[in-house]
C-alpha cells in the first residue's frame, strides 16, 4: 500500500478528462462509453474511450493508466472523472466487489 500516497487522484482524473475532450465529438448515432479495465496482469487500471457508431467498426482509444491496485484510489479517481463528464462507465474484470468508500456494487 506504500505507493498509494504518490497518486494524485485529481491529477489522474484531469489527465483522463483532457484526453477525452478532443475525442468526444458528440456525433449522431454514436455511442460513447468509458471502459475501466482491471488489468490483473499489469497491476493497474486502464481507461479507454469506446466509440461505436451505428453500422461501423468499434473503436477503442486509450485514455490513461492508473498504476495501482487499490480500489479506494480508483474510487476517488472515478468520482473526480464523473465531475467532468457524464459518459457511461463500463467496469471490466472487477468481479462481484463493492466500492470501499460508498459500499455500492462496482458496475
Amino acid at each position: 500500500m506504500g505507493g498509494i500516497a504518490l497518486i494524485d487522484c485529481r491529477q489522474e482524473a484531469a489527465v483522463i478528462l483532457t484526453r477525452l475532450d478532443p475525442l468526444f465529438t458528440k456525433q449522431w448515432h454514436c455511442r460513447y462509453r468509458i471502459d475501466v479495465v482491471n488489468n490483473q496482469y499489469g497491476a493497474e487500471f486502464n481507461f479507454f474511450l469506446d466509440i461505436r457508431r451505428k453500422d461501423h467498426r468499434e473503436r477503442s482509444i486509450p485514455l490513461h493508466t492508473v498504476k495501482t491496485t487499490d480500489l479506494e484510489t480508483l474510487e476517488r479517481v472515478i468520482s473526480a472523472v464523473q465531475e467532468g463528464t457524464q459518459l457511461t462507465l463500463n467496469f471490466i474484470d472487477f468481479g462481484q466487489v463493492r466500492w470501499p468508500l460508498s459500499q455500492r456494487w462496482i458496475r
Binding site: 488489468n39 496482469y41 467498426r57 477503442s60 486509450p62 474484470d93
Partner: protein, 432 residues
C-alpha cells in the same frame, strides 16, 4: 546422412501470437485468442490507415492481414479498432525476455525481433522438465500467467530447425508447439512444395529454384551442392544445408557486419512539390542522421540521398525515384553534410512531386579530431563544431524537440510531429 559431427543442442524459437493485437487485447481485459481486434495506425503519412496487427480471430473471420489498408478492413461493428502504442509493446517485449532469462543464462538469450527470441537451452533445459516439449509448455504457461499473452514455440537441435518448427508446425499446432530433430527433419520438411513458406526462401529465390527444376525440399536436398553453388553462389550452399536441417551457427559468436552505415527515411504526409518544403525535410533528416552518427563518435566519408517520386510524378523515363551517392571529406558536421545533400538534390531534381525522402551516411570512421579546412576561418570551424555538440547535449537531456530550427515550424516540416513516433508509428500516450 551422418549427423554425428553436427552440433546437437536444444534451441527454442519463441514468438508471440499476433503480438501487438494480443497486448492490446490483454490491456482491455479480452482474451487474445477470442477478440476480434485490429491495431491500425492512422499516422498522417500512412494514407487512410495501415493495419499493423490483427488478432487471430480477426484474421480468420474477416481475412484481415497485417499489411491491409484501412479501406480493405470491412466496416463491421464486430471489429474493434485500436491505435498502436509502440512504447507499450517494447515494454512488454522486455518483460517477456525477463521471463526467458529465468530459463537461460543471459548469454544464451538472443532477441531476434520485437516479438521473437531464440533461447539456447542446451545447458539448462534439464532443470525445467524431462522433455523439451515439457520445458516449452512451462515457458508458455509462465508467460500466459504473468502477462496474459500466448506464445508459440519451435524446438530444434539447432537454430534453423527451431525456426522452421516454429513457422511450419507450431503455428498450426493446437498446443502451439512444434519440434524438429535431425531424425524427423526429412519426413517433416521434405514434402513441402511451396518453397516460399520456408524461412530464408523468398519469392525470387523460389522462382530461381523452380527454374532449376527444384520443386520441393526433397528435390533441393538431392541436388549436387557444388552445382547449386556454381549456379546460385554461396546462398546455394546455404540452401542445401537448410534442406538437410543443418545449421552450424554459434550464436554467441555472431558478429555484426563490419561495414555499417546510418540512414533514416520517411514517407511524407502528402506529395511535396515546392522545392523549399522538400529541402526543409532533407535538412531535418540530415540533421537527425548526423546526430545519430555523432552519438557513436563517428564521421562519414560518403553521403547518399534517396528521393522517391509520387505515383503521378514518375520521371519521363519511368523512374520512380532517384538515388545518388557522393564522397566527401570525412566530417560529422551537420551543416556540411546538409549542404552536400542539398547540392545533390538541386543537381538532379527536375521538379517531380516527392513522396519519400531518405538520407544515408557511410564510409564511417572514428571521429574525435577535427580536420580544419585551410580555405575557411578556423575560429568559425571550431565554433560550428561546438555548436553541434551543444545541440546534441540539449536534445539528450531535454528531448528531441527541446531545440528545433525555426524552419521546422514552416509549412512542410515533419520533425516536430514525428518526434513522438516510434519506428514511424504512434508511441502511445506520454506520462503513462
Amino acid at each position: 546422412m551422418d549427423y554425428t559431427s553436427e552440433p546437437h543442442g536444444m534451441f527454442l524459437m519463441i514468438d508471440n501470437k499476433s503480438f501487438y493485437a494480443s497486448v492490446e487485447s490483454v490491456e482491455r481485459g479480452l482474451n487474445p485468442l477470442e477478440s476480434v481486434l485490429v491495431v491500425m495506425s492512422e499516422a498522417d503519412n500512412t494514407g487512410s490507415g495501415l493495419v499493423l496487427a490483427a488478432s487471430p480471430m480477426a484474421k480468420r473471420e474477416f481475412g484481415i492481414s497485417n499489411v491491409s489498408r484501412q479501406y480493405e478492413v470491412p466496416d463491421d461493428p464486430r471489429i474493434l479498432v485500436v491505435p498502436p502504442r509502440m512504447n507499450l509493446y517494447i515494454q512488454k517485449n522486455l518483460a517477456i525476455n525477463r521471463i526467458f532469462r529465468r530459463f537461460v543464462a543471459d548469454a544464451d538469450l538472443f532477441p531476434y525481433s520485437i516479438d521473437e527470441s531464440i533461447l539456447d537451452m542446451t545447458k539448462s533445459w534439464r532443470l525445467f522438465g524431462s522433455t523439451p516439449e515439457e520445458v516449452a509448455r512451462r515457458i508458455q504457461l509462465t508467460v500466459r500467467h504473468e502477462l496474459g499473452l500466448y506464445t508459440t514455440v519451435g524446438i530444434g537441435e539447432n537454430p534453423v530447425q527451431a525456426k522452421l518448427a516454429l513457422d511450419l508446425q507450431a503455428k498450426h499446432d493446437k498446443e502451439l508447439i512444434g519440434r524438429l530433430t535431425y531424425e524427423s527433419f526429412a519426413d517433416e520438411i521434405w514434402p513441402i512444395t511451396d518453397l516460399e513458406k520456408v524461412w530464408s526462401i523468398g519469392h525470387r529465390t523460389a522462382a530461381h529454384l523452380n527454374r532449376l527444376g527444384i520443386h520441393s525440399m526433397e528435390d533441393l536436398a538431392h541436388v549436387d551442392p557444388y552445382e547449386l553453388r556454381h549456379e546460385m553462389g554461396l546462398i546455394g550452399t546455404q540452401l542445401f544445408a537448410l534442406s538437410w536441417g543443418i545449421d552450424r551457427t554459434k550464436l554467441r559468436e555472431v558478429r555484426p557486419p563490419k561495414e555499417k552505415s546510418w540512414s533514416n527515411s520517411q514517407v511524407l504526409p502528402r506529395d511535396y512539390k515546392v522545392q523549399r518544403e522538400i529541402e526543409l525535410v532533407i535538412r531535418e533528416i540530415g540533421q537527425q542522421v548526423t546526430s545519430r552518427m555523432r552519438h557513436h563518435q563517428q564521421q562519414a566519408g560518403s553521403i547518399s540521398l534517396f528521393i522517391g517520386f509520387a505515383w503521378d510524378g514518375q520521371a519521363d523515363d519511368g523512374r520512380g525515384g532517384m538515388h545518388h551517392t557522393h564522397r566527401i571529406a570525412p566530417t560529422d558536421n551537420a551543416r556540411t553534410i546538409i549542404a552536400e545533400l542539398l547540392r545533390l538534390f538541386r543537381q538532379y531534381w527536375e521538379g517531380q512531386p516527392v513522396r519519400n525522402i531518405g538520407v544515408g551516411l557511410a564510409r564511417l570512421s572514428v571521429s574525435g579530431s577535427l580536420q580544419l579546412d585551410i580555405f575557411q576561418d578556423p575560429e568559425r570551424q571550431l565554433k560550428n563544431d561546438r555548436f553541434d555538440r551543444v545541440i546534441d547535449d540539449l536534445r539528450d537531456r531535454f528531448g528531441k524537440t527541446a531545440v528545433v530550427p525555426a524552419s521546422s515550424l514552416m509549412r512542410g516540416g515533419t520533425m516536430i510531429s514525428r518526434a513522438a513516433l516510434v519506428g514511424g508509428h504512434n508511441g502511445g500516450n506520454s506520462f503513462d
